[in-house]
């Protein structure tokens, strides 16, 4: 009985050790996954910031182009409505 009890205690201890090891492995896996997800989230934040800045610069360029085009249109229309300037 004592041997059986010792054997059962050893087996339970081994089972507990295996369970603890599996638990630590699971924790390690979860921490790795969470770390990767956080890195992914950081990348997404940086990507959003850079994309926003690039889109803002692009929008600024397009605005400046629109203003230049409007100025050119006004100049050309004034020149066409007053052709005597070019017919002297």
């Amino acid at each position: 009985m004592a041997r059986a009890g010792q054997g059962g205690g050893m087996g339970s201890a081994v089972n507990v050790g295996i369970a603890v090891q599996a638990d630590w492995e699971n924790r390690e896996f979860i921490s790795n996954i969470s770390l990767n997800v956080r890195r992914l989230f950081d990348f997404l934040l940086r990507f959003e910031a850079t994309t926003k800045s690039k889109l803002a610069s692009l929008n600024e360029k397009l605005d400046s182009l629109e203003r230049k085009l409007e100025v050119l249109e006004v100049q050309v229309s004034s020149a066409t409505t007053n052709p005597s300037v070019f017919n002297n």
Binding site: N26, N36, L58, L72, V85
Partner: protein, 268 residues
Amino acid sequence: MDAGSAGDGEAGRQEGTPPSGAPTGPAAPFGRSSSSSGLGAKGGAAPQSFDGALRELKDLQSQLHQAADCCEKAFLATEEKRLILDSTKSYICNAVVAVIDHLGTVSSKLEHQLEDKTEIMQTEQKISFLKQRLLTCEQYAISLQLLAVRADAGAVQYHRRYLSQSTERNNQENVAKSSRDDPEEPLKLNSTVAPGATRTLKPYDAESTIGREHAVAGADGGNPASTARSFSFRAEDVHVAAGGHHKKKKGSHGSNIMSFLKRSKRHA
């Protein structure tokens, strides 16, 4: 519901390795198809667009939700929980890798689309070219206007303080004289002279006005100013007329002498 069956609509996504020994375990519905297609698109003939990559990433969200539900149901239903747990772990690893791959593809495509905006540079160059052309036209028009202003002698006006008293007196005399003179001929003579300017008549002017002077002489009434002004060509006229008359007289005088000598010879 299997995640693999949920991803049947998307072709090329069944490349994930299904967990071994899991009859109801989730098969990875995504492989690295997006990155492989993206890499192939860089050198391929049909490049995948940014919209396509973004659509794949959005579809991945629903597939991941369905796979999580499947894993949970399988873990609760089966007796071999260890096996399901291992398969779920491998599935999560593959899912994270696939999501990162899709995100990289989407970001790289967006980056390329933002960097390859050559149309803006071309439009800027076209606008600068048009502005240059318009500026050239304006400069040309301004130069033409300047030439017209310089050629217009009537537009030149001097301020009174910059005119000497003699010039003003001459101007007043010219004005008074022009009002007193004959309304036709003096106007013709003075019309081309700017007010306040002294005109020096040249020989071709004298020749062109000789005939007129004779016609005007009677109507001029002995105006000293007009005689002084037309003195030079009048003297030439007189000189020419006198010269011609003198030649005629000389010729007639010579013919009289010759006739007298002939008569004296005959009489002798």
